[in-house]
């Protein structure tokens, strides 16, 4: 065990860590906690789940009354997913604000983790086979038909048939089970690359002259962060477990009845708004993909003299405007496709993409002016 314990020791005990990293640096460990919660609760749920279109909905509902504490695991898993995305978005926002993307390998692996977690969340939402599960699966898998030439064949291949049906559900279950372990492996790689260079810090300068050991300082700080993060999660689980959910998903999936408003969970609404903002199907799909993949561009954006936006006032204005745009896109994604929401989504989508393209040049201008 000695080489393994040595790796663990160097990662969480004696790891030299900057003394001045703030609460925004807690989200890395919090995401690890979220992943552990999701894997643990998901494993328990899978013991009582049957992936079949005739049985899934029934089995999930029955488990509330018949399997001891299965309601707890389901509420924890469903709300844990929401908190996972809260942590992800705040973690990425920290990275964007403080210039963590200069760690190219860490950042790239992080974007891959984000994509896999999004995929995993989408696949998992289909499993209870409610109305929103079925129709969400139909809408999102149908997007692939926009691919030129091979589009319709790809969709049939994904579905395992000519519509979203049992074959789709069973493969989604298999993939949903597999992906989190891939994410766990990538998280290890993410940490490996990070520990190669060491954490950044809010000032954006080198922290090599002032570091402390990870244990006890950051073990305790991360523990406090976990308590403040898991507390609201458990409060939701116990006192209002379906607050963030959609009532439509308590109706069994029916291919003959389309819900009035098909929409994903809140954490995908910003991307959904961008998808629907483009009047062209392929254009919408490309915009959806680019909305997430544009993060990969950040390490290649023009570098500034000082890492991060702490000392760039107009950069800060742009960053917090992006936060506002993100929140408004989330709101717009829940609205029906009617005026004025269409125009609002289009304007917001333009502003969203503009940030990534303009932030580098704008901050470089400040460098030159000073």
């Amino acid at each position: 065990f000695s080489p393994l314990m040595s790796v663990v020791r160097h990662s969480v005990v004696t790891l030299p860590t900057p003394v001045n990293i703030s609460t925004w640096w807690n989200f890395g460990s919090l995401l690890g906690v979220c992943l552990a919660i999701q894997i643990f609760s998901g494993l328990v749920l899978s013991l009582h789940f049957t992936a079949h279109t005739d049985l899934s909905f029934y089995v999930v509902i029955q488990s509330f009354g018949d399997v001891y504490y299965n309601w707890w695991f389901r509420a924890l898993h469903a709300n844990g997913a929401s908190f996972f995305f809260i942590g992800l978005y705040l973690h990425i926002a920290r990275g964007m604000y403080y210039g963590s993307y200069v760690f190219k390998e860490v950042w790239s692996v992080g974007v891959v983790i984000l994509l896999l977690v999004m995929a995993s969340a989408f696949l998992g939402y289909v499993l209870p086979w409610g109305q929103m599960s079925f129709w969400g699966a139909t809408v999102i898998t149908s997007l692939f038909s926009a691919l030129p030439v091979i589009g319709s064949d790809v969709v049939i291949w994904l579905w395992g048939g000519f519509s979203v049906d049992n074959a789709t559900l069973t493969r989604f279950f298999g993939l949903h089970f597999l992906l989190p372990f891939t994410v766990a492996g990538l998280a290890g790689l993410h940490l490996f690359f990070l520990h190669d260079q060491g954490s950044s810090n809010p000032l954006g300068v080198s922290s090599d002259f002032n570091k402390v050991v990870f244990h006890h300082y950051y073990v305790l700080k991360d523990l406090v962060g976990a308590c403040f993060f898991v507390g609201p999660l458990l409060a939701l689980v116990y006192f209002n477990p379906w607050l963030l959910g959609d009532p439509e998903n308590f109706i069994e999936g029916n291919p003959l009845v389309t819900p009035h408003h098909i929409q994903p969970e809140w954490y995908f609404l910003f991307a959904y708004a961008i998808l629907r903002a483009v009047p062209n199907k392929l254009g919408g799909v490309v915009a959806l993909g680019v909305a997430v993949l544009i993060l990969l561009y950040m390490p290649f954006s023009p570098r500034t003299s000082i890492k991060g936006l702490s000392f760039y006032p107009w950069g800060k204005v742009m960053f917090f405007s992006l936060i506002g745009v993100f929140i408004l896109l989330t709101w717009a994604g829940a609205k029906p496709v009617e005026e004025p929401y269409v125009v609002v989504s289009q304007v917001l989508s333009f502003l969203y993409f503009s940030y990534f393209l303009l932030i580098g040049p704008l901050t470089r201008i400040q460098d030159k002016l000073l």
Partner: protein, 276 residues
């Protein structure tokens, strides 16, 4: 921004406030003119709504009586077995007696025949129609939905269902209803296939509670809340216990963290330039 003139600061502040005010105005206007044309149900003070409020189990029992004598004619509760009643609003013997009132198709027996037998605790509440086609035929083309999860399956939950049951009225001028339809402003679209199901004294409660229309609605919806959330009471009880542990634990962790960090936080960096 530290080097800005007063004028620039005032302008930036005004712009920020204007943007915030504009956003607020937009939200207010959006809220006032909803995209859908359905009347939204006002909130009601349900006795089980608070974070430490349990179900009113006497109300669940009365609600089951309302369901059985009024709603069960058309609506199923296919996810609810009789055994779930035990220790919630019936004793085991009462639940067995209740189950025994129905006849259930079972089999095959030793000679390979299907037979009917009295219900047991393990049986589910009976379906009023053999299939959805029969349900639609008997109800003017509309299939009465299963009620097991209805409280969770509709926006507004209990409030929506209560106002739906009590909100029937004459259609406004100009609204045309189809054959067999009724007007209800809370139902999406306004035209509902279900006739007003409840009216005062439609049933007589076992426990002598006056069976007013609002009482009937309140009880049946409390019952349906239980069918949708059978874990409700246990969940909140567990939650209170969890908070009783989590809050002091968080405080303790926070104290230890501050204690360990106090050495670093109270440190002072002094620059002593080298004297040549």
């Amino acid at each position: 921004m530290a080097g800005w003139t007063v004028g620039k600061k005032v302008l930036a502040t005004a712009l920020g406030m204007g943007a915030t005010g504009g956003a607020g105005l937009y939200v207010a206007l959006d809220e006032s003119v909803k995209a859908d044309l359905t009347l939204h149900p006002p909130k009601l003070p349900w006795s089980h709504k608070g974070p430490i409020d349990s179900f009113d189990h006497a109300s669940i029992r009365r609600g089951y009586q309302v369901y059985k004598q009024v709603c069960a004619a058309c609506h199923s509760l296919k996810y609810i077995p009789y055994r779930h009643f035990v220790d919630v609003f019936m004793t085991e013997d009462e639940a067995k007696e209740e189950a025994a009132e129905i006849m259930v198709r079972d089999g095959p027996n030793d000679i390979g025949e299907m037979f009917d037998r009295p219900g047991k605790l393990t049986d589910y509440l009976p379906m009023p129609f053999p299939n959805s086609a029969a349900a639609a035929y008997a109800n003017n083309g509309a299939v009465p939905p299963d009620l097991s999860l209805m409280v969770l399956a509709r926006h507004g939950g209990e409030d929506y269902l209560y106002h739906l049951l009590n909100g029937y009225c004459d259609p406004p001028e100009g609204v045309e209803l189809g054959e067999g339809q009724h007007f209800n402003p809370y139902f999406p679209g306004g035209a509902i296939g279900m006739a007003p199901p409840l009216y005062t004294d439609i049933i007589e409660y076992e426990d002598g509670t006056p069976a007013t229309q609002s009482q009937l609605a309140k009880d049946v919806i409390t019952f349906l809340s239980w069918t949708a959330m059978p874990e409700h009471d246990e969940r909140k009880k567990f939650g209170m216990k969890a908070m009783l542990v989590l809050i002091p634990f968080t405080a303790l962790c926070y104290y230890k963290k501050r204690q360990y960090w106090s050495l670093l936080k109270s440190g002072k960096y002094v620059y002593n330039p080298k004297k040549y």
